[in-house]
Amino acid sequence: MAGKNSTVVERRSDRELVVTRTFDGPAHIVFEAWSRPELFQRWWVPKTLGVPLRACEMDVRTGGGYRLEFGLDAANSMAFFGKYIDVTPPSRIVWTNEEAGEVTVTTVTFEPQGDKTRLVLSELYPSKEACDEAITGSAAGLPEQFEQLDVLLVELVA
């Protein structure tokens, strides 16, 4: 697609990954798409993944919690959960991921740039190992599976 905004990823430290992307809309709209559950679940999991979102509870305010559950049925499902540490409309959302036992903190900021918004998302992992794991995965063989899925997704999305 011509003129698509580019997604840039940078490993800022041993523990931190930063994703930057500009969106063609004002910050309050971008914030809305992140903070209203019915909108959020439409884009967070690409349809082409093929795994349905079984449950999506999001109480998007400072101190609120969330829980997302993916899977085909109850026996084959995975839950992700945590808390919103800071929700400041329309400029900032900070949440934790606690399902792994350790806490990962994700900070998203929405910076107005004219009628566009620059989004910066930072994932701060509890340790270098957890960050490495997030990027590389530890199990052998799975990278190819990823590759395969990426190809599939790209084909389906194209």
Binding site: P26, L68, I135, L149
Partner: protein, 133 residues
């Protein structure tokens, strides 16, 4: 909020059909003598698509197709520098961090493409509501 790279991997574990599909793709890629020859050649060192086409006495278009099949099977990775696309053997689980970061980036990119659509919808709705008032 879920679906970091590690989370994707766990979900993938539930998706056995993709493993089967992946094997199909790998076997299909290896079923062709030219493609096996290309892998053998790349085992000796990286090469451009042009060089591979010459080596196997093929058209550039024909070689591009073979390389694309190998690439989709994860057996070969390619990188374009200037006007030259260089091929080398895929190294499976030993890929370097740059390659991983690229995959991580692509996952966010896919997600953000979906977000673009929703932002566009919300903008249009806001414009319409604005006109009504």
């Amino acid at each position: 909020m879920g679906l970091r790279a590690a989370d994707w991997r766990s979900i993938m574990n539930h998706m056995v059909q993709y493993s089967a599909a992946r094997l199909d793709v790998s076997f299909a890629a290896l079923s062709d003598a030219t493609r096996r020859g290309v892998l053998e050649q790349l085992g000796r060192g990286e090469a451009s698509i042009t060089a591979l086409a010459e080596r196997f006495n093929m058209t550039l278009t024909g070689m591009k197709k073979h390389v694309s099949v190998l690439e989709q099977a994860g057996l070969v990775v390619t990188e374009k520098v200037g006007r030259v696309r260089t091929c080398r053997l895929g190294v499976g689980g030993l890929e370097d961090e740059a390659a991983w970061i690229e995959k991580y980036r692509r996952r966010w990119e896919l997600r953000f493409d979906g977000l673009d659509e929703i932002i566009e919808e919300l903008k249009q709705k806001e414009d319409q509501d604005g006109r009504k008032e």
